[in-house]
Point group: C2
Chain length 126, copies 2
DNA sequence: CTGGATCCTATAGGATACTG
DNA sequence: CAGTATCCTATAGGATCCAG
């Protein structure tokens, strides 16, 4: 979408801009791809194996966007068959820690969330 | 959607589950709402003012999901006019730090990303 | 192997109007 | 005030086929 919102308060504008960025980075696959590239250089197919369930189309799209945003570096080796490597850029690396923290948080609290959902769903419809 | 994927490898299964959770938490508005509730108890309308651009419908939906996931506590005061307070639960608080880090990261690197995009778009179409 | 191009569907999410 | 209900559109994203 990439909608630009005009707001008078510059602080608010910054937060809105930040939200847009996070919406991008936090889309369905980006986090998983960044997580997979944590400290590793991977080829397209390797990434596809690593990020289970991603379609070819979305892996391509996600990588393109991450590359455009300067988070991932794409290196094409002029060989046959083609070989393309993906790795995090310096900017991408500034996200590594947080993304890993996020993943760990999700893994560690999956049960809590599942439990909370079960309780919520079991509550009598007010 | 809430698709359950069957995978043999339990480690992979955990990561897939984590991804689903992050997809939820990382949806268009959740991060912003959690960020707004960072250390604060807010009413519906206050939240709406705080999270600029969110529609009433999406604020309600986001809050419901966060409540169901056990991240946000909703307290209804039986008064007229109605008063409903929202705050982070203990579980929600375990996300505060990371969410704030994320927001800060986005604010701090918005320029880098904008620059990267401009460069990418200026590149000759390979 | 690494994609691009197409097609198609489900869904997210905005706008608006109504209610206890 | 704090929602719910309805309607509608854009878009995300999967499946599939093709290509250098």
């Amino acid at each position: 979408m990439e909608v630009t919102v005009q707001v008078s308060d510059p602080e608010v504008a910054r937060l809105c801009e930040a939200r847009q960025i996070l919406n991008r980075v936090g889309d369905k696959w980006s986090i998983a791809v960044i997580y997979a590239l944590d400290g590793a250089t991977l080829r397209f197919t390797e990434l596809r194996r690593e990020v289970h369930g991603i379609s070819q189309r979305m892996l391509t799209a996600t990588l393109r966007t991450l590359e455009r945003d300067g988070l991932v570096r794409r290196t094409v080796h002029p060989v046959v068959p083609p070989r393309v490597d993906y790795e995090l850029t310096d900017l991408g690396n500034t996200l590594r820690g947080t993304v890993c923290t996020l993943m760990t948080w999700a893994v560690n609290h999956a049960d809590d969330i599942a439990k909370a959902r079960a309780e919520y769903d079991a509550r009598p419809a007010s």
